[in-house]
C-alpha cells in the first residue's frame, strides 16, 4: 500500500448527532473526527449503540427527525456538507457520495423494473440519454457478477436478496461517486455470497478508484478488505489506524477485546474471550470514559475524565491507558484481573 499522504477528500470534524426523545436527549454520535482519503477502503467497526449508521447519515446530512446534527462540520472539496443549500445537497448526494443502506435489498422500488430505476436515478441528476445509461448499467451489473440481460428487465421481487444487494451496489455507482458509504452491506447474505461481495468491492475500488467507507459490526469481515479501520463505541471513535496495526497491535482495550472475542475458524482458540459487561445504555452513559465499566484497565482516572485523542502518524486512540495495553499485549506486564459480572 502506498504510504504517501494525500489530502482527505472528506473531513468530518467534531460531528455530533443528537436524538431528542421523550425519555431524554440521546447523543448517538459525539465529537467524531473522520478522514476519508481518495480511493481507500476505510472500515468503521461498531456494535449496537456505537452510532456508526447514524454517523453515516450525518456525513451526508441525512439525519431525519427526531435526530439532528447538532454540531461539527463535514468538509467535502472545501464546502461544509451540513451547510449546503438544498439543491447543492441533492447534487452532492449520489453524485459525489452514494450510500448503500442496511438491508438495501428493500431499497428498490417494487413497482419499477431495474432498468427503469437505473435510468430514473441518473436522469434525476444529469441529462443523459437512456441508451447511454443502460450501457453503463450493464457494465456495472457485469462487474457485480450479474447478467444484465436477465436483471435489467426484472422486477425486484423476481431477484433473490443477494442479487438485489448487488443491483443496489451497481445503482450506487451509476453516477461515478467519489465516495461510497456502505452500511452493513453483507449482513443478510450467506457466507459465500458475502465473500464474493467483498471481492467485488475490491474490484470496484481498483477499477473506479472510489473511496469506500464500510460500516460493520463484525470485525472479522474487515480483515480481508480494509486498509484502515476506525473503531466506534457509544458514539465516539476510540481508535483508528492501518488494518494491521489494529489487528496485531491494538491500542484500545475495546479494540483488543473485539479481536479476542471474534471466534475464528483457524488458529488457537484458547486466547478467545468475550468482552465483559453489556452494550452501553445511551441514555445513561457512565461518567468519564464510556467504556470503563467493561474495561480491565479501568482506573479512577477513567471514571472521572473522558480520554483525549492521542494522535499518531497513522491513526489515533482515545484511552488513558493505551501504553499499558501495549505493554500487556507484548507480554512485558501481566494482564490485569478482569472486571466482574455482567451488568
Amino acid at each position: 500500500m502506498s504510504e504517501t499522504k494525500h489530502e482527505p477528500i472528506l473531513r468530518a470534524r467534531d460531528l455530533t448527532v443528537e436524538f431528542v426523545l421523550r425519555q431524554g436527549t440521546l447523543r448517538a454520535v459525539e465529537g467524531v473526527h473522520l478522514d476519508v482519503f481518495p480511493g481507500e477502503l476505510l472500515a468503521v467497526v461498531g456494535e449496537s449503540g456505537s452510532g456508526k449508521s447514524t454517523m453515516a447519515y450525518g456525513l451526508i446530512n441525512m439525519v431525519s427527525s427526531p435526530g439532528r446534527v447538532s454540531g461539527g462540520q463535514v468538509l467535502y472539496k472545501g464546502k461544509d456538507v451540513l451547510r449546503l443549500e438544498p439543491e447543492a445537497l441533492r447534487q452532492f448526494r449520489w453524485k459525489e457520495v452514494a450510500m448503500v443502506f442496511q438491508a438495501a435489498q428493500n431499497a428498490l422500488n417494487p413497482v419499477m423494473r431495474v432498468e427503469d430505476q437505473m435510468v430514473d436515478t441518473v436522469q434525476d441528476h444529469e441529462q443523459k440519454p437512456r441508451a447511454e445509461v443502460l450501457g453503463r448499467a450493464a457494465e456495472l451489473l457485469k462487474l457485480v457478477r450479474l447478467t444484465p440481460e436477465r436483471v435489467l428487465k426484472a422486477y425486484p421481487h423476481e431477484l433473490s436478496g443477494g442479487m438485489r444487494q448487488r443491483v443496489i451496489l451497481a445503482l450506487s455507482l451509476l453516477l461515478n461517486p467519489r465516495i461510497l458509504l456502505l452500511d452493513e452491506p453483507t449482513t443478510a447474505l450467506d457466507v459465500v455470497t458475502q465473500a464474493y461481495l467483498l471481492d467485488i468491492l475490491l474490484e470496484i475500488r481498483q477499477k473506479f478508484g472510489v473511496a469506500m467507507v464500510f460500516m460493520t459490526h463484525d470485525i472479522s469481515i474487515v480483515a480481508k478488505v480494509a486498509e484502515r479501520v476506525a473503531v466506534m463505541y457509544a458514539g465516539r471513535i476510540v481508535e483508528s489506524g492501518p488494518v494491521e496495526e489494529i489487528f496485531y497491535r491494538p491500542r484500545h482495550p475495546y479494540t483488543w477485546g473485539l479481536i479476542q472475542a471474534a471466534p475464528s475458524l483457524v488458529g488457537d482458540l484458547s486466547g478467545k474471550r468475550p468482552v465483559q459487561g453489556s452494550p452501553p445504555d445511551l441514555f445513561h452513559l457512565p461518567p468519564g470514559c464510556r467504556f470503563h465499566p467493561r474495561c480491565a484497565f479501568a482506573s479512577e482516572r477513567c471514571r472521572q475524565a473522558e480520554p483525549d485523542r492521542e494522535e499518531f502518524s497513522d491513526g489515533m486512540v482515545a484511552c488513558h491507558h493505551w501504553q499499558e495495553v501495549a505493554a500487556v499485549r507484548e507480554g512485558r506486564v501481566p494482564a490485569p484481573a478482569t472486571t466482574e459480572g455482567c451488568r
Binding site: 450467506d190 459465500v192 459490526h217 480481508k224 475458524l265 468475550p274
Partner: protein
C-alpha cells in the same frame, strides 16, 4: 442409558405451498438421519434454506415428519402416550434465534419463567417461585437477579434476553437443548459469553446440545470436541467429528464454505482464496436440481453428478460424505490456491 438420546431415522419433511392446481411441494428436509447421544454437542451447519431450522423443529416435536421417525429414548415421539409425551416435552427444549420474539412482551421476566416451574411442580415447598426463578437467573449470570425479575423483555439487551431464555430452558431440567442460531442476533463481542454459558451447561449439567448455525467459527468454538453435520438444500452432505471434518473437508460445498468464512487476521485473510463456484445462486427449493443438489454450482461436477443423488458414504473415523467424486477431489487449502480444474 444405552443408545442415543434422540434419533432421527430417514426423516423427510415436505411443505405444501399454494392451493389447488398451483400446489408446489418443497422438500425442506430430505432423508436425514441423525443421532444425538446424551451430553453430546452436535453442530448443524448450513446456510438459510438448507433445512437446519426445520430439523431443529422436528427434533422439538413441532413439525411432524412426512416420512421417517423421530425416536426419543427409543420411542416414536408421535406415538407416545400423554405422560410419556409430557416427559419428552420437558426433556427437549428449544432456544430461538430472536430472543425478543421468544418472550411474551406483556409478561415480566419472573412471570414468564414462573409458568414452566409451576407447570411441572418444580417449586419446592417452603420456597417462593420468585426465589427459584432468581436462582436460575443467577445461574445464567444475570446478577443481581432482583434487577431482572420485574423487567419486561424490551427493557433488556439481546444478550440478556437470550440468557433469560436459557434460564427458562434450564428450569425444567432438560436433557437436550436445541439452539437455533442463538447468538446471531447478539453483538459479536458478547457471543462467546453465551457460548461459554452453553458449554458450561453441557459440561456441568450434562445437557446435550444441537447447535444450529450458519456460522462455522462459532460452531468450531462450541462443538470443537463434538460432531458437525453440514447441510445443503435439505440434505446432509458431510458429517463427522468436528475437528476431523474441518481439517480435512471432502465435500466441495464445505470446502467452498470454509474458504469463504472471514478470518480476523489481515495477512491470513488476504492470503486465502475462495473455492470458485460456478454460480452464486442457491437453487429454488421447489425445483431442486436432479442428481446431486450441489452439482450446478460445483466446480468439479461431472456427468454422473447430474443424474444420481449421492448417498452418504463412510470415510472412516466416523466421517461421512455424500459425493460421487470424493476420492478424487483434492483438498482445497485456501492458502495454496490450487486450481479446481485439476482432478487427480
Amino acid at each position: 442409558m444405552n443408545g442415543p438420546l434422540i434419533s432421527m431415522q430417514n426423516i423427510s419433511i415436505c411443505f405444501q405451498k399454494g392451493i389447488f392446481r398451483r400446489r408446489t411441494e418443497v422438500r425442506a428436509v430430505d432423508s436425514v438421519s441423525l443421532d444425538i447421544a446424551p451430553g453430546e454437542i452436535v453442530a448443524l451447519v448450513g446456510e438459510s434454506g438448507c433445512g437446519k431450522t426445520t430439523i431443529g423443529k422436528a427434533l422439538a416435536g413441532l413439525h411432524r415428519p412426512t416420512e421417517g421417525k423421530v425416536l426419543y429414548q427409543g420411542q416414536d415421539i408421535w406415538k407416545l402416550g400423554r405422560q410419556a409425551f409430557s416427559e419428552y416435552r420437558r426433556d427437549v427444549q428449544l432456544v430461538h434465534q430472536d430472543s425478543f420474539a421468544a418472550l411474551n412482551p406483556v409478561l415480566t421476566i419472573v412471570q414468564s419463567l414462573s409458568a414452566p416451574l409451576q407447570r411441572y411442580g418444580l417449586v419446592p415447598a417452603g420456597r417462593t417461585v420468585r426465589s427459584v426463578v432468581g436462582e436460575y437467573l443467577e445461574m445464567v449470570e444475570l446478577t443481581p437477579a432482583d434487577q431482572f425479575l420485574d423487567k419486561y423483555p424490551h427493557q433488556l439487551s439481546g444478550g440478556q434476553r437470550q440468557r433469560v431464555i436459557l434460564a427458562r430452558a434450564l428450569s425444567v431440567k432438560p436433557k437436550l437443548i436445541i439452539a437455533d442460531e442463538p447468538v446471531s442476533m447478539v453483538d459479536v463481542s458478547l457471543r462467546l459469553a453465551l457460548l461459554n454459558l452453553m458449554a458450561r451447561m453441557n459440561r456441568d449439567m450434562g445437557v446435550a446440545f444441537a447447535y444450529i448455525t450458519h456460522d462455522l467459527a462459532t460452531a468450531r468454538y462450541l462443538a470443537g470436541k463434538g460432531r458437525i453435520v453440514v447441510m445443503y438444500l435439505g440434505g446432509m452432505v458431510e458429517l463427522g467429528p468436528l475437528g476431523d471434518v474441518l481439517e480435512r473437508p471432502r465435500h466441495p460445498y464445505l470446502q467452498a464454505l470454509l474458504s469463504a468464512v472471514p478470518v480476523p487476521d489481515p495477512l491470513l485473510a488476504r492470503a486465502r482464496k475462495m473455492l470458485p463456484l460456478r454460480s452464486l445462486e442457491m437453487p429454488d427449493p421447489t425445483n431442486p436440481p436432479p442428481g446431486c443438489r450441489f452439482h450446478p454450482r460445483c466446480p468439479y461436477a461431472e456427468g454422473l453428478c447430474g443424474e444420481t443423488v449421492p448417498g452418504l458414504q463412510p470415510e472412516g473415523n466416523g466421517c461421512m460424505v455424500a459425493c460421487h467424486l470424493k476420492e478424487r477431489i483434492p483438498l482445497w487449502t485456501p492458502c495454496s490456491g490450487v486450481s479446481p480444474s485439476r482432478l487427480a
